[in-house]
Symmetry: C2
Subunit: 582 residues, 2 copies
């Protein structure tokens, strides 16, 4: 039992006790490969957030180690992610963080606040909240954010002055106007960086496999693409002295590990940064949990939504105190970690150690690294987030879902990241409720010679002039009960001989109070018109609730039948032969 | 066909053409009885709204005639209603309408704006919007408004100075503090008015029937209660010269009919009054359509929701131009009209003519009418709106619905009428969505020897180690698909031998895009874990949509089975005998 309790608070104790020696090589290799990807990503996302590059490295050391102990995903790779970096940039430029020092302090404060918010959500078990971010909303949001990120990198790619935050439309306008002023050498570096990165993906794998290399080895090799591009372009800049010909370089990165600090905790900034902190925690959590879930499934593992809030919350708090930016589980990086063979979070710890080594000893190597190369890495990484297939697919499936994608995308791009997300959640919720207001309703009759009841409009079935069987294919609740009521009223007005009306509830999963009140009223009104209301096929949980509402009193003389067949048998017994209907 | 077209625009043409001479006596009597009720109500509600008493009479002449032509309810009695009057008082005191003249002009403008809003809603077919005002929300709203109205009448009842609008809590505080300062003669008149009105209801009917009068005649007679109280108290005031002893009286009411006017149309006030106008139109429409629907059912007639928007919109526009306050179909008055035997809207026209006669010739009779008597009429009329049974019943049925009633009630009482309603709609919607996030899910097995599949936890059924049957009792949508996903993941992790998983969709009425994407992901993840996902019992409309999403491509080798039985037969054929389970 003590082991169970330990596993509840430190999920890592589970895989640690069960660790097998043969898992070690896999974890070591995956940890190394992920580190090769994480170092350039860390530097790039720090610059995307408008922060010094080492902040991205610091965020990749302690936070993943904390996550390794507290998280329930075996393969999630926690560290800086592109969308959170964009949100940081957006929040800090909007809230008018002044000098570089304040700017950095505010970024750390954002990480601390996001951490506390996630821990608070865990305490209140609010993991269910993220369910309200529907797939179309998330798709539109991610595409919009990806496009914003790409636009924000125009400045670094072409060495022109483009605002890196704000309305995407304004950014695009400025960017296009500035193209003629671009610095050609920087642009050349940036564009060749993008080209090389694209070539290092499928084309490289295809080439290597054609040359006889095993597919898996080729894939692993292609993962070093970003690092190779960095090495190549850094060497090129250093060799050709490009930093003196106008190419912006990263410059000095202080060597060493982050020193724990808390002087960024300024209460007066908390209120200003709160909306952004909420966004960062929600979006970071949604991204992390999505990828964690997908990866856990593949190996029949389980992710605990609430424990993930704890783990990501703690990781963000630790990020802030160790000088790092907000963190989350990155989609592409975690997939790389998984497919490189990571078995446990030991791989994550290996990655963290390697990044720490880089921070300690190798930062001078990045002195000549051109900023355009980092911009190229960002652009290529987020381009794959642009989910136009998702839009087409949603649109084909249901126009309303397609509209949700589009509205969220445009909202993020033209209004603001926060408003875009809120708009998306609002549209998705409104659409869902709106749909519920016009449920599918069928008048049913019996397929002759069977016990099956089907829609009279689709099947040749028998019906009875004194009996009407109405099946509602939706739970009954406040937003649709009046529609059902109107439908019944119209049917009753059209069928003059009717004496009994049976509401077939086989597809009714819940009945809320508004609906039960309306049904009581319906029973009453039908009775004054000489018609008895009956129910049939009522599900167990629905029936339990109905009995709390004096059902038998107000339904009488109407009855509750176990099946439609039973209702028909009972009521046609003394009446007449059925009339056929088609 | 021309008659059909006419009936579409002027629904009255239907009953007019079919009018039978024997309906006339009923309509005349009902029209007279309703007029006896409407005259005191009109005066009282005008005073409740803070307007001169004749404004209530003017609103009872032309608007019901317009409604008679355009409305689809045969028995709805249109005119001033208490809640709308309260909303007018609240809006005008809040928006700082200055002098009496501006105050009246703003009230007319509110009527005109409400009319235009209702007509606009009709044009956009937004009648469905009111479905979002759930029964618990409406119950809490009505009770809160009733209590506010009663509190607002303390001033007139006791001749003390109590604010007639604002927070109910503040009003109650002032009222109780002022009780010792009350004018005893006025208080005596007011309290005896209330006592007489209460006695004129059930006690009077009981007495008269005991004295041998027919029950129906006694009920008709009791309807004259308000008029009798007015006559009695007016005579008392005049005879004892009470107006000179501090009793507030109605005083001069200008005789004559309203003159058409439009000088109240001030564009600069429109924006200030817009929120109140929206509230008045929505609440007025909800009250009207509720009672119209209830009454139409009893005689197997039909109400057209959208045409009602047109009729009530036109009635309000006409009300404003003929010097009247905003109107709606009153609940109690329409019920009186119906049970007095009204067959058609001819009864409403008769009522309107009688009110016009009163306005033309009998206004001097109301000179000595004490305001306390009108306050008594208001208090007794709205006391029956206080729906505490509704609260108890909702609470018993479902704690969440009970909370919605309570939150709306307290919101209306303590915050404001508008915020209370918004709060109620918000809580009802959030509760509904929240419920949807944790659907009932059952693992099912076969009842031995039958084709029925039931919950393994409730019934002794047969199951198969390689096969898992999961039935979700709710439509699949963005807010619950992750819960379903997690549930399946847990089951799969607990049943190591599983090779096939069948999602039984018999209770799934819709699948939205988020859910279908998650199902595709689930099929994919299960496949990587060596499990095949199948679907069974998919409903026709759901299937149509699924086929738009390349279902067979991503489900393969999984299949769609017509029934759970078919799925089981197909998959256990080559496998093994079932194991029993209980």
């Amino acid at each position: 039992m003590r082991a169970d309790r330990l596993a509840q608070f430190i999920p890592a104790s589970g895989w640690m006790r069960a660790y097998q020696r043969q898992q070690l090589p896999d974890d070591l290799l995956a940890g190394f490969i992920t580190a090769v990807l994480l170092v350039p990503q860390g530097l790039a996302y720090a610059i995307l957030a408008g922060l010094p590059p080492q902040v991205g490295l610091y965020a990749s050391i302690l936070p993943p180690v904390i996550y390794a102990f507290l998280g329930t995903s075996r393969t999630l790779s926690v560290g800086p992610v592109s969308v959170a970096a964009l949100l940081v940039a957006d929040a800090l430029s909007a809230s008018g963080s002044g000098s570089d020092a304040t700017y950095l302090a505010d970024a750390l404060l954002l990480a601390a606040m996001s951490g506390v918010i996630l821990l608070g959500m865990a305490a209140l078990r609010l993991d269910v909240l993220v369910n309200f971010i529907s797939h179309p909303t998330l798709s539109g949001f991610t595409s919009g954010a990806a496009l914003l990120i790409i636009l924000s990198q125009f400045g670094n790619l072409l060495a022109v002055s483009v605002p890196s935050t704000g309305s995407g439309f304004a950014m695009a306008m400025v960017a296009f106007a500035e193209v003629p002023q671009s610095h050609y050498l920087t642009a050349l570096l940036g564009i060749s960086g993008i080209a090389l990165l694209l070539l290092s993906r499928r084309p490289l794998i295809a080439l290597l496999t054609r040359l006889g290399m095993a597919g898996e080895t080729a894939t692993l090799l292609s993962r070093a693409g970003p690092l190779a591009v960095i090495v190549l372009l850094t060497a090129l800049v250093a060799a050709l002295d490009m930093q003196n010909r106008g190419v912006a370089i990263v410059g000095d990165i202080p060597a060493g590990l982050p020193i724990p600090q808390w002087d960024f905790l300024r209460v007066d900034r908390v209120l200003d940064l709160l909306p952004a902190a909420i966004m960062i925690s929600l979006i970071g959590y949604v991204e992390s949990i999505s990828v964690a879930r997908v990866l856990a499934y593949r190996r029949r593992q389980k992710v605990d939504n609430n424990q993930e809030l704890v783990a990501l919350g703690a990781a963000n708090v630790v990020a802030s105190f160790s000088g790092g930016m907000p963190v989350a589980g990155g989609f592409s990086r975690s997939t790389v970690n998984f497919s490189a063979g990571a078995q446990t979070q030991l791989a994550g710890m290996v990655t963290a150690c390697l990044v720490a080594l880089v921070a300690l000893f190798f930062t001078p190597l990045f002195y000549y690294l051109p900023k355009a190369a980092l911009a190229a890495i960002i652009v290529v990484a987020v381009a794959s987030l642009f989910d136009w297939r998702g839009f087409l697919s949603a649109w084909r499936y249901d126009k309303a879902d397609g509209c949700t994608v589009l509205v969220t995308f445009l909202g993020v791009l033209l209004l603001s990241i926060e408003l875009g997300l809120l708009l998306g959640v609002g549209v998705a919720t409104a659409t869902f409720l709106w749909r519920g207001t016009r449920p599918h309703i069928a008048i049913v009759g019996r397929v002759p010679g069977t016990h099956h009841f089907r829609n009279v409009r689709r099947h040749p079935v028998e019906t009875w002039p004194q009996l009407l069987l109405v099946r509602v294919d939706r739970s009954l609740f406040f937003a649709n009960i009046h529609y059902v009521d109107d439908y019944v009223a119209q049917q009753v007005a059209e069928q003059p001989d009717i004496k009994h009306l049976v509401l077939v509830c086989s597809a009714v999963n819940t009945i809320d109070y508004s609906a039960i009140e309306a049904l009581e009223q319906l029973a009453h009104s039908l009775r004054s018109a000489g018609i008895t209301l009956h129910l049939s096929d009522v599900k167990g949980p629905v029936m339990d609730r109905l009995e709390h509402h004096d059902l038998y009193r107000w339904l009488a003389p109407g009855q509750v039948f176990l099946s439609t067949e039973q209702a028909v048998t009972n009521m046609t017994y003394h009446n007449q032969e059925p009339s056929s209907h088609d």
